[in-house]
Structure formats: C-alpha cells, structure tokens
C-alpha cells in the first residue's frame, strides 16, 4: 500500500473542504466554517490500476495567518491541487504566488500539480473564464486543469486521481497487494 500526501490549497472560501469532503464522503457540505487544518484518509483501490491505494489527503487553508503550517505542508506534500473559485477573480490571481512558493519550497519545476476552478455550477456568477484557467495552466509548464463543482459532483474525483497518476508517473513503485483499509482522520 502506498500513501499519497495530497495538499489542497487556495484562498479562503473557494471550496477546498467542500471538494475534499465530497470526494471522501460523497456529500456536499453546506456549512460555511473556515478550516484551520483537516486531514482525511481514503482508500481508493478500486479506481487506480486495480491496486489498493491509500490516499492520505490534507486540506490546508490559505489564510495569511497560517503561513507557518503552510510551509510545512508544502514540504511534505507530494501533489498539490490549487483551487480558485470561478466566481472570484482575486482567488484566481492569488494562485500565482502560491505556485511559486511551492516550487521554491520543493526546489524543482516538476511538482505534481493541478489547477482547479471550483464552483463551476454557478455559471451565472462566473467571472473567471474557462480559457483564462486553461491559459494559466499552460503557462505553468502545461499543468493539468479542471473546472469542478463540489455541489454538483463535477470533476471531483478526477482532481485527486489525476494527482495520484501524476505522482505515480513521477515516482513509479512496484505493485503489490495491500489489505483493504479505509478510515477517515480529522485533524
């Protein structure tokens, strides 16, 4: 069994927790509570190349005041989902700094990463165009890009699977069977 440390980053209120909870538990959280730090685990053996994979997922909140923790997660994380909300331009603009910070901490250009435009169900309130996101991703040395909706369950699983595939591609491991295990951990 292999553990993947995925980190979800983005400005406050873009739906990092919502995406994660939707992925892990299949429910949409209506609640509007900011997260300090949450940690989830999910067994995803049935999805990825018939191999039992344990994905350890960390959600990190990007409030300025939590910078110390953020650095630590950047150091430990293997794959990063950078989330913005298609309804708020500023959340989109913030990501450039975030990516640069990750590359700096990781000290490499090749970091498994995906750009996510969340809340794509709110088409009426859209201010960040899909092309904008695609262009942005292209500038990031062809980073993966998805538009998602935690509420409408669009592209939620794809985000995390894509990251896991990217990590696998980067650091392949020999396949072996692991006993099935599923639990959820909250930090």
């Amino acid at each position: 069994m292999r553990e993947y440390k995925l980190v979800v980053l983005g400005s406050g209120g873009v739906g990092k927790s919502a995406l994660t909870v939707q992925f892990v538990q299949g429910i949409f959280v209506e609640k509007y509570d900011p997260t300090i730090e949450d940690s989830y685990r999910k067994n995803v053996c049935e999805f990825i190349s018939l191999q039992c994979e344990l994905i350890r997922l960390l959600i990190v909140c990007l409030q300025e005041q939590f910078t110390a923790m953020r650095d630590l997660y950047m150091k430990n994380g293997q794959g990063f989902a950078l989330v913005y909300s298609i309804t708020a331009q500023s959340t989109f603009n913030d990501l450039q700094d975030l990516r640069e910070q990750i590359l700096r901490v990781k000290d490499t250009e090749d970091v498994p990463m995906i750009l996510v435009g969340n809340k794509c169900d709110l088409e009426d309130e859209r201010v960040v165009g899909k092309e904008q996101g695609q262009n942005f991703a292209r500038q990031w040395s062809n980073c993966a890009f998805l538009e998602s909706s935690a509420k409408s369950k669009i592209n939620v699983n794809e985000i995390f699977y894509d990251l896991v595939r990217q990590i696998n591609r980067k650091t392949p491991v020999e396949k072996k069977r692991a006993k099935k295990k599923s639990n959820c951990i909250l930090l």
């Binding site: 406050g12 300025e64 913030d94």
Partner: protein, 542 residues
Amino acid sequence: MRMVFKNVLNGTFDDGTGNHWNPGEFESNVCIILQIERRLENVRLVSHNAHKRMVMCLQGNVGSDVEKRHKKLPLTALSQSMLDGGSQLGDESFIGKMMEVCGEAESKLAFEQSQHEVQLERDILEPLNQLAEVDIPNLLKQRKHLAKLVLDFDSVKARYQQATKAYPSAANAQAMAAKVDTLKEEMDEAQNKMEICKDQLAADMYNFSSKEGEYACYYVLLLEAQAEYHRRALASIESVLPSIQSQQDKWTEKPAFGTALEEHLKRTSREIALPIEACIMMLLETGMQEEGLFRIAAGASKLKKLKAALDCSTSQLEEFYFDPHAVAGALKSYLRELPEPLMTYQLYEEWIQASNISDPDKRLQALWVVCDMLPKANKTNFRYLVKFLAKLALESDINKMTASNIAIVLGPNLLWARTEGSLAEMAATTSVHVVSIIELIINHASWFFPEGQSLFHAVSPLPCSPANKQPEIAPRRAGTINKKQHSMPNFQPPLPPIDAGGLPVFELSPLLPTGGGLEAGQAGAALPQTHQPLVQQTAENR
C-alpha cells in the same frame, strides 16, 4: 623683527653693507633700515597674496553694499528658487510649505553672509590692502628718496672736501673761499635734508615695526569675524529649525502599518488606531452582510492599494466601500503587521492558561481578568474591535460569519507567540487556543466590555461613504437580532470577579450567536465544528 631691533639698539648688530655711509654714527641705522626694508618687501608681498586669496573666498562682489551683495549671493538665489517653488506648489502641498519656510531661513542665512562679507571687507581686506598697496610702497618710496638725498650729500661733500683741499694753494683764494663757503652751505643743507628725511624714515620704520602687532591682528580678526558669522548663522538656523521640525513631524504621514500601536496613537493623537477605525467604519457601512467577510481573500493589488491609502490618510477611501474584502484584508493585515500582537506578548501565557481552564464559568472569569490586564491602548482598540466583531456575528445569517468562524480567520492575527515562525506545530496550537479565546470574547462581548455601546457613533469623520444612504441595512440588522435570540446559551456568565460596579449582565442576550450546534447535523462527522473534536482526533491519529 623685535629681536633685530633689540640687537641693533644694543650695538651688537654688525652689518658690512653700509660702507658708503661715511659717518660711523649711521652704521647701526643703516642696518635697521636695510633689515626693515627687506622685511617691508616681504610683508607687502604676503599681504598682497593674502588679500587676493581672501577676496576669492568672498561670494559677493567686492565693494558693493550689503543690500546689493545679498542679491548676488548664490544662497539668495537658492532661497529665491525655494520660495518660488513653495508658492508654485502652494500651501496644501507639504513640499511647497516646507520649501517656503526653509527658503525664508536660507534668505536669512544669506543676509548674515552678506553682512559678514561686508564686515570682512571693511575690517580686514581694506586695511590689508592699504598696507600692501599704499603704506609699504610709500615707505619704500621714502627710502628711495633718502638714498637720493644721501647721494646728493655725498657728492656735495666730495666737492667741498676737494675745494677745501685746493683752497690754500689756489690762485684766486678769495673766489675759492667763497666757493668753499657756498659748498659748505650746500653740504650743510644737504646733510640737514638727509637727516630730516632719515629721521622721518626711521620714525616711519619704527612706527611700522611697532604696528606689526596690529597688522598681525588682521588675521586674528578674520577668524573672529568668521566665528561670529558662523555663530549668527547657526543661531538664525536654530531659531527656525525647531518650528520647522515640529511642522515636519506634524505633517509627515508616518506609516500606520507596522508601527507599534502606542506610537501610532501618540503620533496621531487618536484613541483607536487609524486603520482599525477606518476599516471598521467602512465595513459598518457596506460590509456587514458580505458573505465570508474576513475569510475570502481580497485581490492582492487592491489590498496593497488600500494599505498604502490608509498609510497616508489624506487619500480618498471611497472606492473601497465597494470592496469589503479588501477592507477586511487590510484590517487583518494591520493587526498582523503590528510589531506586537494586539493582545500582547506579555499576556500570552496568561491568555493560554486562561483558555485551558475547563470550567466554562471560571474560564470566562479568567479571560476577563487577563483582558483587564491589557495596556490601556491595547484594551481600547481590542474593545473597539471586539464590539465590531460581535456586531458582525449578529449578521451571520447573511454573512455566514459566526463568532466561531470569525475567531478562526481573525484569531491568529490577534495573538501569537514571540517565537512563532520556527515551529509550525506551535503555530497550530496557538491558533487553536486563540480561536477559542476570541470566540468566547466575541460571544460575550458586552459582558467583557459593557461600556461603550455607542462606540461606532462617536468617531471622527471619515471620507463620506457613497453608500451612506442604503436604507435597508438598519431594519435588517434589527431583524437579525430578533431571530438570533433563540440561540442564547444555557448558562449565564458569572459576574466579573473584580468589582465592576454593577455590570448590566442582561446586555448579553442579543450577542450570543454561538455558531456551534446550529448546523452540525448537516455536515455529518466529517468536519469538526470547533477545536474541541480536533483534540480528540489528534489523539486518535497517533
């Protein structure tokens, strides 16, 4: 020079050049004359040079009066251009004002300088010039005149001696005797003239020599005049500098961000820090119902602009009324950038200890005590902020920011440990404590701070909000309060442990949107409501 004279007078001086002075009685005088003569030439030369260099030191035109000279000084030109610049920029511009004031000071300085130069010219340059170009040349002229007289005397004397020698054997003895007599007369006259001239010259020489001290004085005078000038210049600068500096201090907009609270308040003579008050006033107008206020990040460039605008308070803030997230971000940023957290390093341990008390009543009391220990400035600003946050939490139906949510996003900006930055874990623990503290204080805002209900009405005017006239805000707020009353907690907070003079406990009722429990059912077990489950989960994790 004096030494030479002494020697001469004692008769010990010997000079071999005075051969043609026939009578031995003049020999010593010759020495003196020659000595002084040589010296005279030297003095003339050095005085001439010194005069020339001194004139070069002057900035004004030699010979003009104070007024004219003042106009020609480079300093006057500087002051004039500063004054012009000042009037061009006008009084509203601080640069213009300062240019004007400083230009006046420079003009005074220029006046001092011109006076100084005139004085120099009068007291030093002119006498020096007189000495080098008139007095000494006159002496030298007289000396030449004497030489001529000596020659005259010598020739007449030679003729007389010749005549005397020839007289006894001469044929025309009578004519010869008459010639001898005439010659004798001529000789006597020439000698007389020579003597007079010599005496005169000697007197002048002695005079010059005795005045040497006076001439040397010119150089001392120069230094004294310069000293006096610099003193007066300094005095004139110092007389204006304090007022200029105080104006400067008054006008200078030192940045509020990153400056210690105490210092900022003192400098601006405010009670509430400008960024706190300005941001809160703006948020009260347009931000209270903004979803995710303090949570959603503002655009980085907008935030930067607002921070800069707040740093120089003259700027217009109108446009930010429509960007509450930027305003909230600026407030957060201000609190975060304080050199010391608003809740102070000093009380850090006390805060944490108080929040660790498990009994809710005792915990509240302990927090009250710590809160009361805050320095006055911090307490005033903290109270102001908390009152506002409590008000904000009242609208959580609309803005979704319950006390707990506000505490999570804002708490870490209010208190942090001195050593933060090195250990992420420590930061996390601090955050958890701080969040719980802030949540409690927001929930019990009017119990912690019973005074100052009307805080937000008695504030200094800020740039007028274009959204002032939105009529629906007040009614909605009232509605929120009514709705929220059902969520009162099931315990009454105890009275503060210190004699607080009959605190109105009943004020609590409208201020208690606890945030917890209301929506817990919807979220399932996935998301922890507050810090409480967090501890359990961490334990499980290990």
